[in-house]
C-alpha cells in the first residue's frame, strides 16, 4: 500500500483530501490527513464577527465532518517533518509517506513586534485573524464609546491582504449605523505606499478613504508598540496614537516548518509557483498559505491551486512531467461597507481589472466596482465554502486559471 500524507486539515488540506480520494485507487493508496485541532474555522468570517454581522456558530464547525470517507483522519500535533527520510513525527507516532502534501497554513505572530503581545493584548490592542481575537474585539466594540481607532498591518505578506481595508470600511459603517461615527476617528496605517497600490484599483477606489472620512498613513514600518503612551512607533521614529488598535501582526508559516528546517525566515516553504512541487524535495508538494509563491494567501487561490495540484500528483505518480499550469489566480470579494462589496479577479501576471464576471459582458457581477450583488456574493460564499469548496466541487464557470474574457485590458 502506498501512502499519501496531508499535513493540515484547514481549507487546502481538506480540499486535497476530497480531490484525491476520488482519484487515487483505494487498493493502491492510503490517504491520511493530520491536524492537531478539532475545529475548522471559516476564516473569512472573522472579519464579520467583530461587527456582529456573523455569530460564533457561523464561523466554525467540527473539522472531521469534511474529511471524506476513505481518508484516515488523525487529530494529533505534528512535531517534525523529515523529508530526507520520507517520514513525519507526530506527538506519539511516526508516519511514513510516499507523497507528502504540506498544507499547514500560516498564522499571526504578534510576538515578532516588540510590545504588541504585551499587557494590552486583547485589551486595547486586537487582532481579527483568530477566533479568540475577533471575539474579544466584538465584545470590546459592543460597549466602546468612541475615540481614536487605528487599523494597521505590520508587513507583507499577510493572508487576505484586503482584510485590513475591509475592516476599516466595515468599521465606518458600524459606527455610522450606531449613530456614533462622529465620536470615532478612523485611521488606516500601512507599510505600503498607499491604501491601494495597483494603478487600476487606485483609479477605481482611491476616493473611498476620503469619502468615508478615514485618514491614511503610508510607508509606516512598525518597530514597536508603546503600551504606556498607546502609540505605534516606526523605524523612522514616526508615531501614531490610538485608543483602540486593530492590527494584523506579522504572518508566519507554522512552527513545525521551522522545526523541520524546511522554510524561509517567515517559515514559508520554497515552492514552484506553477507546479506546486517543493523546490527541495520532489515527493513533497505544498499548497495554500504554507507556500512562498508570490500569489495572494487566500482561500480562492488555494481552491484554484488544488485543481492543478491534483492533476500534478497523478502525473507524478505516473512518472510523467508536471504541468506548469498554476497562474496564481485569485478571486476575492472585498467588503466596502454599507452593504456593498467589490469583486476582484487577478493572477501573477494581471492586476485586478474592471470588467464583468463570470460571464463576459453579462456578469452578473462587476469587477472592481461596488455593488450590492457583490456584497450578497460575499455573504453567500459562506454556504459555497462549506458545501462546495471544501468538498472539492468545482465552481461553475470559474476556471482554475484566470480568464481574460470580459475584462477591460486597455
Amino acid at each position: 500500500m502506498k501512502k499519501l500524507l496531508i499535513l493540515g486539515a484547514g481549507t487546502s488540506g481538506t480540499m486535497m483530501a476530497n480531490h484525491l480520494v476520488k482519484k487515487l485507487p483505494k487498493k493502491e493508496w492510503n490517504i491520511t490527513i493530520v491536524d492537531q485541532y478539532k475545529t475548522h474555522y471559516y476564516q473569512p468570517g472573522f472579519l464579520f464577527l467583530p461587527f456582529d454581522i456573523y455569530s460564533e456558530e457561523q464561523v466554525k464547525k467540527v473539522g472531521n465532518k469534511f474529511i471524506p470517507k476513505g481518508v484516515n483522519y488523525v487529530q494529533k500535533k505534528i512535531e517534525q517533518i523529515f523529508p530526507e527520510e520520507n517520514k513525519v513525527q507526530l506527538e506519539d507516532e511516526t508516519l511514513q509517506y510516499d507523497i507528502l502534501i504540506v498544507a499547514t497554513g500560516c498564522k499571526i505572530a504578534p510576538q515578532e513586534t516588540e510590545g504588541m503581545k504585551g499587557e494590552n493584548w486583547h485589551k486595547n490592542i486586537f487582532d481579527f485573524y483568530t477566533y479568540e481575537g475577533s471575539l474579544a474585539l466584538r465584545n470590546k466594540l459592543r460597549d466602546w464609546k468612541g475615540g481614536k481607532m487605528v487599523v494597521h498591518f505590520t508587513e507583507m505578506p499577510i493572508k487576505c491582504p484586503v482584510a485590513p481595508l475591509e475592516f476599516v470600511f466595515l468599521a465606518d459603517s458600524y459606527f455610522t449605523k450606531k449613530g456614533m461615527r462622529d465620536k470615532v476617528d478612523l485611521t488606516y496605517v500601512t507599510p505600503l505606499g498607499g491604501a491601494f497600490t495597483k494603478p487600476k484599483a487606485t483609479a477605481a477606489l482611491g476616493h473611498l478613504m476620503k469619502e468615508k472620512n478615514i485618514s491614511v498613513i503610508t510607508d509606516f514600518n512598525i518597530e514597536r508598540v508603546d503600551n504606556d503612551k498607546n502609540q505605534i512607533v516606526d523605524y523612522g521614529e514616526s508615531t501614531v496614537d490610538y485608543d483602540l488598535l486593530v492590527t494584523v501582526p506579522t504572518n508566519m508559516g507554522d512552527e513545525v516548518i521551522e522545526r523541520s528546517g524546511m522554510g524561509d525566515d517567515l517559515n514559508f516553504i520554497p515552492t514552484h509557483k506553477h507546479t506546486l512541487q517543493s523546490m527541495d524535495h520532489e515527493n513533497v508538494f505544498v499548497i495554500g498559505d504554507a507556500t512562498n509563491v508570490p500569489a495572494s494567501k487566500a482561500g480562492s487561490v488555494a481552491h484554484f491551486a488544488s485543481e492543478t495540484l491534483t492533476d500534478n500528483i497523478l502525473l507524478f505518480i505516473d512518472g510523467k512531467p508536471l504541468k506548469e499550469e498554476f497562474d496564481g489566480h485569485a478571486n476575492c470579494f472585498i467588503e466596502t461597507g454599507k452593504n456593498k462589496a467589490l469583486l476582484i479577479d487577478f493572477n501573477y501576471e494581471y492586476e485586478p481589472l474592471e470588467g464583468t464576471f463570470p460571464i463576459a459582458g453579462i456578469g452578473p457581477l462587476r469587477l472592481l466596482k461596488e455593488s450590492i450583488f457583490n456584497h450578497w456574493g460575499k455573504l453567500a460564499f459562506r454556504w459555497i465554502y462549506w458545501n462546495m469548496l471544501l468538498k472539492g466541487i468545482p465552481i461553475p464557470m470559474v476556471s482554475r486559471n484566470m480568464s481574460l474574457k470580459g475584462k477591460n485590458i486597455n
Binding site: T197, Y235, C332
Partner: protein, 102 residues
C-alpha cells in the same frame, strides 16, 4: 508612461517606477536619486545591488528582509533613503515598489 532622464527615454509607471529593469543603469539611478534629494554613496549602491538581487530571485522586499540580511541596520537604511525607504530605494534601483494585490 514616458520619462526623460539625462536625454534617455524611459518607460515608467504613473508614479515614476521603471517598468523595464533592462533600461536601468547607474546614470539613471543617480538622476532618479537626485529627484528624491539623495546623492548616492557606496553604501547606497550596496543596498541597490541587494534590492535588485532580491527582485531577480522573486523574493518580496521588506524591512524584515533588510534587517535579516545583516549588511545594514534599519536606522541606517532610513538615513540613506529618507521618506519611505522601501518606496524610495526601489524607485532608484529601477524595480517595482512593494505592492499588495490591490
Amino acid at each position: 508612461m514616458d520619462l526623460n532622464i539625462a536625454g534617455i527615454r524611459l518607460d515608467v509607471t504613473e508614479d515614476g517606477y521603471l517598468t523595464d529593469v533592462s533600461q536601468w543603469n547607474e546614470e539613471i539611478a543617480t538622476e532618479i536619486a537626485k529627484t528624491e534629494g539623495i546623492e548616492l554613496t557606496d553604501k547606497h549602491w550596496e543596498v541597490i545591488a541587494w534590492i535588485q538581487e532580491q527582485v531577480k530571485n522573486e523574493v518580496a522586499l521588506s524591512i524584515r528582509g533588510i534587517k535579516k540580511s545583516g549588511f545594514i541596520s534599519i536606522k541606517e537604511f532610513y538615513a540613506l533613503f529618507p521618506g519611505g525607504p522601501l518606496k524610495v530605494s526601489t524607485k532608484i534601483a529601477g524595480v517595482p515598489k512593494p505592492k499588495s494585490c490591490i
